[in-house]
Symmetry: C2
Subunit: 452 residues, 2 copies
């Protein structure tokens, strides 16, 4: 009898896991259940779709028919998994089109239930002009709302990655944009200098950033939010975007007695196994090991969902592979500015009891006198005792993100500042200066660490 | 009595070493001797200067007066060191302005005598319209020749990095360009696919590339080369550029009995010490350890000169530091194409007795549907026995060189393909696809290595 592998959730980790399982065990029957109407789409592209830079058809990687054809995975959309019965190795699934519930048995189950957007907890949040940026439907709705209604004033709540990308997108569509954030500066968790630079860029591009201004009241009229009130002032809105983070969607796992961690995500081992026999999990519903601090964290990123999906899928299909964890490597474009973070931030590193040394340098993306050269600022964070590289922030109008990825390799592999200082990197005037900003930063931090 | 540190050579490694020595031992007397009229300039920028992209004043980092002021180093230009007397700890220096020779004593000596351009060995090479691209004077002469004489046909000999950069520069100045190369394809030492791509780009940009066509005769008339004859045809020339490589300039060291290696360069240890007591060497005059093959190589690169200069300078001034070696990381722009190599090539790896596995993938520089996204092709080379990453070639119109630098860190630190496959890299649609080409390449090579 063929192995029966069921997958719950069809956005990112789910299709990745299902496709991998079907490839590793060509005899297996692999079925994916998705509550919504779409599967296999990119949430990260939504701001660029709304801005008009990316066409709608590019958002979906595979339709159910394509997934069947290309990957031998049966995807059942508008199917909501309501219960897991681990001892019976079965799930209860509601077909939302017929509103009937039936039981599906499995040999292996993979949970890829994702995350749900956080809310403000205010009356009016369900008004017709209030949107999250969390699903394909959200993205399609925002775009058609902007296209059809031509709103002139947007209020965005949340100054994280998505909030900034949406501010950029809506400014490019000609809207007046107010960005309300809980803290004084955008991008909580990044270094002070990075956050100050991003604030400058937001202001320079006409975004009204209001720090320490969580909404306290939504003024609703005619089924629409018309004004957002905060302790720092009241802001008129034709359109309200909520980008205040996400939380792991784990009701199903919790009810089945599957162990959750301190951040509310499903606890998995490096094989992506949960506490329940034959049940795997991957993506935004899981917690993940931080390879720098060696602690668990909650980090809902598409790259991790995709990789964890592969690992869960391969192992569910009888393979043996591991997902070691993540260092946290993230990037965002704030208008023309590239911003990237890898590893621990300096405050976070102090909390993790490292003896933190930090140094910031500004170099150039190419030989400084070459046409097109831009400034690149690198902040390196290391531990004085072990001399180990803990993390970095980079920003600049060119080559900041890819340089962050070079540093990421050093951070992931536990290299010291001294290792980094000896990196042999390619040099050519149109692409790098003789001393790349990455190496200048290592030199400067090494010098600083010797001085103390 | 202050320590007296003498430095021979003023282009790249010399000023780096002298500046570092003066900083490490603030009491030291540091004197640098340079045969030519200029010090501390960038040879790598010359093609961009000739193209008109970089101004003349940007070529020189420090004049002698600035070096004195900023670094406390006395630079004596037009001073030719003619002899080293290691036992007496002295050198004999000819002042080219007065044509007098005098003796200078030292406690520590640093040789940074650089490299000299290879020649064709043909009559006519010294004609007024024949140029190397090896010194600031060369660059100034080529630029003023092109500006003043408006030549219409250039022949470039040598399809390596400099030859390609000069082809690009002279095409941008409107010249008809013929590029003669010894082998069938440009960029000997890179992978076949890379070389084929570069050939395509050269042709697409109007360069007449002629492979297997070393010049056999130069037709000279009126003191100028008018035609270059090869077995593949004869090419009219108003201007002839020779870019056929360089060799270590070691006459001085050799006459002093300092040990040279199999490639003719000075042999140094990781402290940049030569075989002679208290004599250091750095830059193009030295051989360097290849950290991948663990063998010596000759690799005249500005980045290595600068780093070795630091190490030689610090150690000469009483410090203790090391230059571990290089993996060979190089980059070149061929018109719009970024090309980079790190580590060993596949042929070279076979010669070094690795059990070579090679895989090539093409990904995109950003999420493929994002505006501005370009293709990036990554070829990875690894050893099947150890699974160790040995090297890579990358090309593409965006983000190839900086991605090569990420791979370089893995190659330098002896990582395996499996390590690389687990790299946690930052992702954001405007900068990388969800699966970066670097990771796609690692996945593909890993799969290929399992298959065998």
């Amino acid at each position: 009898m063929p192995r029966r592998i069921l997958v719950v959730g069809g956005v990112a980790a789910g299709p990745s896991a299902a496709s991998k399982a079907a490839r590793v065990d060509p005899g297996a029957e692999v079925i994916l259940f998705e509550r919504g109407p779409h599967i296999s789409y990119g949430i990260c592209e939504l701001p660029y779709y709304i801005a008009g830079d990316v066409p709608e058809k590019a958002l979906v990687a595979y339709t159910p028919a394509q997934l069947k054809q290309a990957k031998r995975v049966e995807a059942r959309t508008l199917h909501c998994v309501e219960e897991i019965l681990p001892r019976e190795r079965s799930i209860r699934v509601r077909d939302l089109k017929t509103n009937t519930v039936h039981t599906e048995r499995y040999q292996k189950l993979i949970l890829a239930t994702g995350s749900s957007p956080r809310t403000l907890g205010l009356a009016g949040e369900d008004a017709a002009n209030v949107f999250h940026v969390k699903s394909l439907e959200n993205g399609l709705h925002i775009k058609s709302f902007v296209d059809a209604e031509r709103p002139s004033r947007a209020v965005i709540v949340g100054g994280g990655y998505i909030g900034i990308e949406m501010a950029d997108a809506l400014r490019s569509r000609g809207l007046d944009v107010t960005l309300l954030h809980q803290y004084e500066l955008p991008l909580s968790g990044l270094e002070l200098l990075t956050r100050q630079e991003v604030l400058k860029v937001l202001i320079a591009n006409g975004v009204r950033f209001v720090g320490e201004a969580p909404p306290v009241r939504l003024l609703v009229d005619g089924g629409r939010v018309r004004r957002v009130d905060t302790a720092k002032g009241n802001y008129d809105a034709d359109l309200l975007i909520l980008a205040v983070g996400v939380q792991p969607q784990t009701g199903l796992a919790k009810r089945a007695g599957i162990m959750l961690g301190e951040f509310g995500g499903i606890v998995v081992n490096p094989q992506q196994q949960t506490s329940a026999t034959d049940v795997f999990a991957a993506g935004d519903c899981c917690e993940v090991k931080n390879l720098v601090s060696n602690r668990k964290m909650y980090l809902p990123l598409a790259t991790l969902a995709s990789k964890q999906g592969w690992v869960a899928g391969e192992n569910a299909a009888g393979g043996h592979t591991r997902f070691p964890g993540a260092i946290r490597a993230t990037a965002v474009r704030a208008f023309k500015l590239e911003v990237a973070q890898v590893g621990l931030g300096s405050e976070e590193a102090k909390l993790a009891r490292f003896d933190v040394a930090v140094e910031t340098v500004t170099g150039s993306s190419r030989v400084a006198v070459m046409p097109g050269s831009k400034k690149v600022t690198v902040t390196l964070i290391a531990d004085r005792r072990s001399r180990r590289l803990l993390g970095a922030n980079l920003f600049g109008e060119e080559g900041a993100v890819l340089r962050a990825n070079t540093i990421a390799v050093g951070v992931q592999h536990g290299m010291t500042v001294d290792d980094m200082q000896q990196w042999d990197l390619a040099y050519s005037p149109p692409f790098t200066p003789l001393w790349d900003p990455v190496l200048i930063a290592a030199n400067a931090l090494q010098k600083k660490m010797y001085r103390k």
